[in-house]
Each structure stands twice: as structure tokens, then as C-alpha cells.
């Protein structure tokens, strides 16, 4: 059985914090096909168009018939663990820091033999289920767990490197004055977060959501205004070295188009909160989180931005809001690249319209904030890079992949 995660102790101030190191980072272009599948939580491998052979590792031509038409297809993630070993030595700094490390060969039901990182409960000759995960360097790897989930599976120290269960981790939620902020806080507490820090801007504005957050256990509220550089700096200096998961749920949505509604002030506010706000958070929380990514099983691990699916395609009914979300998405890609160097994963959740006061006149289907919060937690637990939430967001992604010009012309609220 998986060793239960020992309750995090307070940090010994006389001990040096381990410097982050990364697993081997080089991948071929073909191998990044796995990364794309892992990002959205799919278990897909290359399949030959001609002979239907499932390929692993990814390659340019079929290992059976040399055909170069290989395409990615979701395949059965089951298999049998053929052999397992415990790595006791490595020349690689990342694994040296973490040995012993379990690896095994799985005979996949889909065909190929796959070298996988093993959960503690996997037993030789027994059935396992595999997932495509993303490691701390940002690359896809295959992990295996027993076919049936085991009791303490989520405590597995090795698998925690690739997934971000809030259990025993300390979480910062940037905006506690929205219902989504409240629901994320509630679900983080329910998921066993060790401490939940919640930001609150403009103290003179009351918020029923923030009032409810005050009653949650292990939760504390801090002054945080992402439009104010000093405010972000101040909070980072107070709790930056304790934040292990950062959830940036900054939100400022105003409806309206572009040509018929010239409103620089609204556009400015949206950019200030979504784009410059992310910049400020990155500037002050980023460096300290990067330094703490190897600080034991509870070290800093993930940064999650809550974005709108309209970051991917501009909705003319939300013209400047969509543009500010696209700007934030672009910045998040840079953040991912820079934080990867420190072993911190950057995840983006893309939501469809949410049931709230600012989207009151948006037609259904709309997401209940609690649903969004639960999907965010699940996405963290699964270590997904892109968490697509709700039917609208899913449809947007599918239509962009199918024909971006079509959706560009037809999308509206």
C-alpha cells in the first residue's frame, strides 16, 4: 500500500532548501505529440494509417510497415506490468535527488511495450492503467497505477511530482470576492489543502463571498490587488515562500463590442487585471515559487490561471474582454516556459460562460461556479495542462481545431 504522506512539518530554518533540478528535457518533435495529448488528459498514441499498428515511442514512420502516415488516436490505457525495478543510482541530478525511483515495463493492451513511472502499489504481472502525464520539465511521460484505484494512491510521492493534488499543499487564490473564488476556496479545503490564502482587493467594497470564506477552516484572507504593484509585492514578501499552488482567478468582465462601443477605460481595466495583473503576480510570486519546487513533497508545484475559452477565439459580444484573455493566455505561455526552468508547471483552465452577475444576460448553458471549482481541482489532481471546462469551452476547442475560420465568423453569446 502507498506510504501515507507524512503530515508536513514546519520548515527547519537551519536547513538549506534543495535547489530545483529537472528531469531530462530533450524530446523530438514527434515525441511532443505525446505532450499535446497529455496536456488535455488524453491517452493517445500514434497509429499507422496502413497497418493499424500502435506505435511507441513516437516516430516518423511505422515500425512495422515503414508507412509515414501515422496519426494520433485514443487507445486503451490498460496493460500488464511485465517487469519493475527501483532505480537506486542515476547520473541525472533530478533522479539522484529523488531515488529510489520505481520504473517498469508495461505490455500495453494496445500493443507496444512501454517504460513507465510506477506508482507504489503496482505489482509485477498484475494489471495497471496508464496515463500520459507531464513531468516537471514540461514533457510527456507515461505513469502507471494499479488497475483499480488504491486507497492512498494520491499520496504517492513519485506521482505527486506530476500531479498537483492540493492535499497538504498551501494554496493562494487571488480573488476571493467572486463566487468562483469562494467555491475554489471551499473545494481546496475539502481536498485537504494545508492552508488556503485568499486575496481581497478594495477593502471598502463588501462581498458576501468573502464573508463566507472567512468562516472556512484553514483559510485566511490577505489584502491583494493585482492592479497595484506594491500590493502584489507586499503579499509575496509575506507569504510568497509558502505558496505551493497559485490559482490566478482574477476576473473583470464587461460586455460589449468594439466598433459600436468605444470604451478605452473598460479595456484598460480588463488589461490591468488580466494581463498586467498576471505580470505582477509572475514578477513577485514566480521567482520564489521557482526556488521552492524541490522543497520536499509539499514544495511549490503549480500555477493555474483561470481563463475564458474566449481567450482562444474572440467573441464579438465580449470584444475587449476576449482580447484581454488572449493577452493573458499569451503571457501564460511565456510564464510556462520560464517557470518550467524552475520545475513549476503552469496550467490553464478554460471556461465557458459562468453563472454570475456580469454574465447575467449570456444565454445558457452557463457553468455553476462550484462545477468550475471542482473541475479545476480535478485538473490539478490529474496534472492536466489545459483544463477545458464545460460544453461551450469544449465546443470552442473542437471547432477551432476543425475550422477556425468558421467559428470566427459565427461565434456569439
Amino acid at each position: 500500500m502507498t506510504t501515507p504522506l507524512s503530515k508536513p512539518k514546519r520548515k527547519d530554518p537551519t536547513k538549506r532548501t534543495r535547489i530545483p533540478s529537472l528531469p531530462p528535457g530533450k524530446r523530438s518533435r514527434e515525441a511532443h505529440g505525446l505532450t499535446a495529448m497529455a496536456a488535455v488528459g488524453r491517452f493517445a498514441l500514434q497509429v499507422c494509417n496502413e497497418c493499424q499498428k500502435v506505435q511507441y515511442p513516437p516516430r516518423q514512420i511505422c515500425s512495422n510497415c515503414l508507412n509515414d502516415k501515422l496519426f494520433w488516436r485514443d487507445v486503451n490505457n490498460g496493460g500488464k506490468l511485465l517487469a519493475e525495478t527501483k532505480l537506486q543510482h542515476s547520473n541525472d541530478t533530478y533522479f539522484r535527488d529523488r531515488i529510489p525511483w520505481r520504473l517498469g515495463i508495461v505490455i500495453a493492451d494496445a500493443g507496444p511495450s512501454i517504460v513507465a513511472h510506477l506508482g507504489e502499489d503496482c505489482i509485477r504481472d498484475q494489471r495497471v492503467r496508464m496515463s500520459l502525464s507531464i513531468d516537471r520539465a514540461g514533457n510527456a511521460v507515461i505513469t502507471a497505477r494499479p488497475e483499480k484505484p488504491t486507497q492512498l494512491e494520491e499520496d504517492d510521492v513519485q506521482l505527486r511530482e506530476m500531479a498537483f493534488n492540493p492535499k497538504d499543499r498551501r494554496v493562494l487564490i487571488v480573488d476571493g470576492k467572486t463566487e468562483l473564488g469562494l467555491r475554489i476556496a471551499e473545494n481546496m479545503v475539502a481536498a485537504g489543502a494545508r492552508d488556503v490564502f485568499v486575496g481581497s482587493a478594495e477593502p471598502w467594497r463588501s462581498s458576501s463571498y468573502l464573508d463566507k470564506i472567512k468562516d472556512l477552516e484553514r483559510t485566511s484572507i490577505y489584502s491583494l490587488d493585482v492592479t497595484d504593484t506594491e500590493s502584489v509585492k507586499e503579499l509575496a514578501s509575506m507569504i510568497g515562500d509558502k505558496v505551493e499552488i497559485l490559482v490566478n482567478n482574477s476576473y473583470h468582465l464587461r460586455m460589449g463590442g468594439l466598433v459600436d462601443k468605444f470604451d478605452i477605460n473598460t479595456a484598460h481595466d480588463e488589461m490591468e487585471i488580466h494581463y498586467h495583473g498576471l505580470m505582477r503576480l509572475a514578477a513577485f510570486f514566480g521567482p520564489i515559487m521557482k526556488l521552492r519546487s524541490a522543497d520536499g513533497p509539499q514544495g511549490a508545484s503549480a500555477w493555474l490561471n483561470v481563463l475564458s475559452a474566449y481567450a482562444l477565439i474572440n467573441n464579438p459580444d465580449l470584444a475587449t474582454y476576449s482580447a484581454s484573455q488572449a493577452a493573458a493566455l499569451s503571457l501564460s505561455q511565456c510564464l510556462r516556459s520560464e517557470m518550467a526552468a524552475g520545475g513549476i508547471r503552469v496550467l490553464n483552465a478554460f471556461t465557458g460562460p459562468i453563472e454570475d452577475e456580469w454574465q447575467q444576460i449570456a444565454p445558457p448553458p452557463k457553468l455553476i461556479p462550484d462545477t468550475v471549482a471542482k473541475r479545476i481541482i480535478k485538473g490539478l489532481q490529474d496534472g492536466k495542462e489545459d483544463i477545458i471546462i464545460g460544453a461551450v469551452a469544449e465546443e470552442i476547442c473542437a471547432r477551432i481545431a476543425e475550422n477556425a475560420k468558421e467559428i470566427e465568423r459565427t461565434i456569439k453569446l
Binding site: 477593502p203 471598502w204 463588501s206 497595484d228 504593484t229 506594491e230 500590493s231 477605460n265 481595466d269
Partner: protein, 265 residues
């Protein structure tokens, strides 16, 4: 034309009196920083930017020898000057914006009515004609072209929450009664009205019969506003001169202003 032979004795006397401390200079200005609260409006309306500052350089690679900042804020941030063009009632008046108001209007006498006890008891306290008449019985009539400054010690509130004092029916801060404003203009010819809270009107003034009377009526008659003052407790009831030049913004509706008061010791 200047008369080269004539020495400006009165001005020299003024400067000498300031140097010797016979005339004291009191700063009535709130320090502008990121925590200065701006007026809170319904969120669907246009919003005034809060005061924000970003460093340009601080003796570093962006400017080895220089320290300076960019700042941004709405025209009506911190201690500020309200020009008549700020309100629809004053939009067509001549010389109604910060760039066109005659500069001599930026130096004027000020009367200070102490309402701190009343405001402490009742945050919605309204200054009435009777209150001002009874003040005049003690301190003398308000001279024409004076400011009327309402002292409430509101600027001493410790937090932005206490200062703005909002609940689910809006702000609760003191201000002038709607009947006082036309009386101050017609009977006393004041140059404007100043106070210590975030706006010259009371927190609940949008519910008055004439909504926002200090803005609507004062600006409609070419008078000014001077909210978010501090240190009014250091001023005498009569005899203060205040200096209030806003930034010369073309068509500016107001601007943050450094308000200086001169008082005789």
C-alpha cells in the same frame, strides 16, 4: 507694465512673515498613494482610476543617475479641485475648466465651520443654514468670495473602509444640506465648498430632492469644490487664506491639488 522703481513691499512683508513664522503655512493635502480611496460608484458606470505608481528608474540600469516614476489616477483623486465643468449644470459656463479658470480664484479666504461633534454622532450629518447662521453669530459673517470649509475630522479615519463608510444603502458621510448651497451662493457669494470626506456632497446626497446639490448647484453657478482636505483642525474659524491651483489640464474637470493654508500666528 511693472514699475521698476516700486518695490513690492506687501509681498516682501508676506514672505518675511512666513520666514519668521508670523504667518504659518499649513498643508491641507492628503498624501497621494495607492491606498487613497476614490469615490465608489455602481460598478456598471465608468470608474475613476485609483492612484498607481510605477517606477521608471531608480539609479539602476533603466536610469543610472535618476529616480522617477510614472503615476496614473483619475482627475478626482485624493485632495482635489472640482471645476464647474465637472457637473452637467456647469458644462456651458465660461472659464469652467482647470485650464481656463482665472488664476486669481486659486487664492482665497476660507471660513472653517467645526462640525466634528455632530459628524461623530451622526455620519449622515448635514450642515444647515441655521448651523452656519449660528456660527456667524460667534465668528462673524462669511466674507464674499470665501471658501466654506466643513471640518468633520473625517480625514482622521484610520482605514479606507471607515473613511468611505459604505453599507448596502451607499456611503454614510457628512456634507452640506441641500438648502445650504443656494443660500451660500446667493446670500454669501462663496467661491466654493470644501470638506474632509471623499466628495463635497454627503454620502447619501444622491437621494436628495436635488441630487448631489453641492455638485449640481455650486458648479452650475461657477463655484468650486475642494474635497478630501486634511488638517482643518489646525485652522481658525476665520482669517485663513488657501492656495488651490489645480494642474492646468486642457478641459480638465479637476485635478489632484496641493492645498496650502496661510494663517496668522
Amino acid at each position: 507694465m511693472h514699475n521698476e522703481n516700486k518695490k513690492p513691499t506687501q509681498l516682501l512683508e508676506l514672505v518675511t512673515a512666513i520666514t519668521r513664522g508670523n504667518i504659518k503655512v499649513i498643508d491641507l493635502t492628503m498624501t497621494l498613494d495607492r491606498k487613497v480611496p476614490t469615490i465608489v460608484l455602481p460598478p456598471e458606470l465608468g470608474q475613476s482610476w485609483p492612484f498607481r505608481m510605477e517606477e521608471i528608474s531608480k539609479y539602476n540600469e533603466k536610469g543610472p543617475a535618476t529616480y522617477w516614476n510614472n503615476f496614473s489616477c483619475g482627475e478626482h483623486t485624493g485632495t482635489h479641485f472640482d471645476a464647474p465643468i465637472h457637473w452637467i449644470s456647469g458644462k456651458d459656463l465660461p472659464n469652467n475648466s482647470t485650464d481656463t479658470i482665472e488664476p486669481e480664484k486659486f487664492i482665497a479666504h476660507a471660513c472653517v465651520v467645526d462640525c466634528c461633534r455632530e459628524a461623530e454622532k451622526n455620519p449622515d450629518y448635514l450642515l444647515t443654514i441655521d448651523d452656519v447662521c449660528s456660527w456667524e453669530k460667534t465668528y462673524g459673517k462669511i466674507p464674499p468670495r470665501s471658501w466654506l470649509l466643513m471640518r468633520t475630522d473625517w480625514s482622521m479615519k484610520k482605514t479606507p473602509e471607515e473613511y468611505l463608510n459604505l453599507d448596502d444603502e451607499g456611503a454614510h458621510t457628512p456634507g452640506p444640506h441641500e438648502e445650504l448651497i443656494p443660500w451660500l451662493i446667493d446670500e454669501r457669494d462663496v467661491i466654493g465648498f470644501g470638506c474632509e470626506d471623499v466628495g463635497t456632497d454627503a454620502g447619501q446626497a444622491s437621494n436628495f430632492k436635488t441630487p448631489m446639490p453641492c455638485h449640481h448647484l455650486m458648479h452650475g453657478r461657477g463655484r468650486f469644490g475642494l474635497p478630501a482636505l486634511t488638517n482643518l483642525d489646525k485652522l481658525p474659524a476665520q482669517g485663513t487664506v488657501i492656495i488651490t491651483p489645480p494642474l492646468k489640464i486642457r478641459q480638465g474637470s479637476g485635478s489632484p491639488v496641493r492645498v496650502l493654508a496661510l494663517i496668522e500666528e
